[in-house]
């Protein structure tokens, strides 16, 4: 008699790999094995639908049939690791980058990366923005030790293709705009975040992106502002704070041997 775990392993083999030999042998004698197709179909349909919801522009760029085929190969290699399908698909952009049949659309993976950031922003936990007055209350001597905690919906992307304009043109069905995009126009640096009204995608210039990404990476403010640039860091930082881009802060421990 198979154990529960053996039944569940055999079922996974059938759903994920399409190999139903083991599970068929565990069915009651009167059960025709083609009944298992119902489960396999539901599994693939549910996960393909989840990917379609998160990657609508990718789907429109490659068409339904191609998307479904790519999704099925992806699903077999990357079944979800949580029972929360909004969190499913983080590995899809990387999968598309290496997916040989998609090579003729070199910017596909970048569009997928942007869509994943948008999807993540949509579902990120709610967090109250950091009150700038709390920062101002820190003693001047300790201000250099402040490390900001980024808002959970925010992500920064550095992409080789202008994925933002492609994404916008595809989703608005604007063929003219799509036709006028020059995919070779070069690298874009993007800020993606959820605001009260929806998810925002904004282009940043190189220095502004670097500054914010250093802050997001947890560098103390004092180090992050040390940019070889004419960026007005204090007003940029003030704008980030009033835009609610940080949810909190902590103080870095001072280097060993220094007096408090």
């Amino acid at each position: 008699m198979p154990t529960l775990r053996e039944v569940q392993d055999a079922m996974r083999q059938s759903l994920v790999r399409g190999d139903s030999a083991a599970i068929s042998a565990m069915l009651a004698a009167r059960i025709a094995p083609d009944r298992l197709d119902i489960y396999r179909n539901t599994f693939l349909l549910t996960l393909t639908r989840a990917l379609r919801l998160s990657f609508p522009a990718v789907q429109r760029l490659v068409g339904d049939a191609f998307f479904e085929c790519a999704a099925q190969i992806f699903i077999a290699d990357h079944p979800p690791r949580a029972a929360w399908l909004d969190a499913y698909g983080g590995a899809f952009p990387e999968f598309l980058r290496d997916f040989a049949p998609a090579r003729s659309v070199p910017y596909l993976s970048d569009v997928a990366t942007l869509e994943w950031a948008v999807s993540t922003a949509l579902h990120a936990p709610d967090a109250a923005p950091l009150d700038p007055n709390l920062l101002a209350a820190i003693a001047t001597a300790d201000q250099g030790l402040i490390r900001l905690i980024v808002a959970p919906s925010l992500s920064l992307l550095d992409l080789a293709y202008p994925a933002d304009v492609i994404w916008q043109a595809v989703l608005s069905g604007d063929d003219e705009a799509l036709g006028s995009v020059d995919p070779a126009s070069g690298r874009v640096r993007l800020l993606v975040e959820r605001r009260r009204t929806g998810v925002d995608v904004e282009r940043l210039d190189g220095d502004a992106w670097t500054f914010l990404s250093r802050l997001c990476a947890g560098e103390p403010i004092e180090e992050a502002i040390d940019l070889d640039s004419d960026l007005d860091v204090s007003s940029v930082l003030a704008a980030h704070l009033s835009g609610g881009r940080f949810a909190g802060f902590e103080l870095v421990s001072p280097p060993a041997g220094t007096q408090q």
Binding site: M1, L4, R5, A28, I38, A50, A127
Partner: protein
């Protein structure tokens, strides 16, 4: 209730007693949970989970249980429910409500996880009978006895899905009325109704598929009246979450259920829309 209904529910404030949503659709932050917060001010919400995998041999995912708790803490649901099924093995989530072998081992596993869930959430949950398309050679416990045993051993309630009983009874050759008659009267805390479809198999037999994509069938309405006669005026939900129709179609189905309840009991407990 599905996302397409959020705004129309807030605008129309339909005269129904309560609503049920899939817990998983409201995890995380942003717009969905904000809508649910607002709707919650007008009517009680039932949280119906699909991802806890009470039947997993590996144990249930503490991170998922915590996500459920976060939604429950925010919404303060009137009822919470899950399924007698499984969908996680070795950390892979198989995105469906999969059938359990009806064995002593599976029964112990499910009871342990119901205990764990009720302790963690500090709430009683209801567990729903599954719709199934296959059965295992090692199954020795009739499903209705399995359901009753889980409820009696753990103190949880039963969510009696009348459509699932109809579907599984057809698929396995059971007597649907006998299934209902075997469920402990006092432990049934909610009823689900839904539509199903019928598919032909290669051997010429037919399989009923629980797809929540159409109106409740006449057969299920008949079985529902039997259920009401046995369990009393239990809160009843119409599940329709594929090819979701406009809200008024759902409200019509809910009104039908309400009329059966009213005929059975004077208290006007409203049925409601998935």
């Amino acid at each position: 209730m599905r996302f397409a209904h959020h705004q129309v529910v807030l605008d129309a404030r339909p005269d129904i007693g309560w609503m049920e949503v899939h817990t998983e659709n409201y995890m995380g932050g942003g717009t969905p949970i904000r809508y649910l917060d607002m709707i919650r001010r007008d009517m009680p919400i039932s949280l119906h989970g699909v991802g806890l995998s009470l039947g997993s041999a590996d144990g249930i995912d503490p991170a998922h249980l915590e996500r459920i708790r976060e939604v429950a803490d925010r919404i303060e649901p009137g009822l919470m429910s899950e399924h007698i099924a499984w969908n996680v093995v070795d950390g892979d989530y198989l995105a469906d409500l999969l059938p359990l072998p009806m064995t002593e081992e599976a029964l112990e596993v499910v009871c342990r996880h119901v205990d764990q869930t009720q302790n963690y959430l500090k709430r009683r949950i209801l567990v729903e009978n599954p719709s199934t398309y296959v059965a295992f050679g090692c199954s020795i416990i009739p499903e209705w006895e399995f359901m009753a045993a889980v409820a009696i051993r753990t103190g949880c309630g039963i969510l009696c899905d009348v459509n699932n009983i109809c579907v599984s009874a057809h698929n396995h050759g059971w007597d649907a009325s006998a299934y209902l008659a075997a469920l402990p009267v006092d432990l049934v805390g909610e009823i689900h109704l839904a539509g199903h479809s019928i598919r032909s198999l290669t051997d010429g037999s037919t399989l009923r598929i629980d797809d929540h994509g159409s109106e409740v069938s006449a057969e299920v309405w008949t079985l529902y009246r039997e259920a009401l006669a046995r369990f009393g005026a239990v809160p009843t939900l119409i599940e329709w979450d594929n090819d979701v129709p406009p809200l008024d179609v759902l409200l019509r189905e809910a009104a039908t259920a309400a009329s059966f309840i009213a005929g059975n009991d004077e208290r006007p407990i409203h049925a409601d829309a998935a």
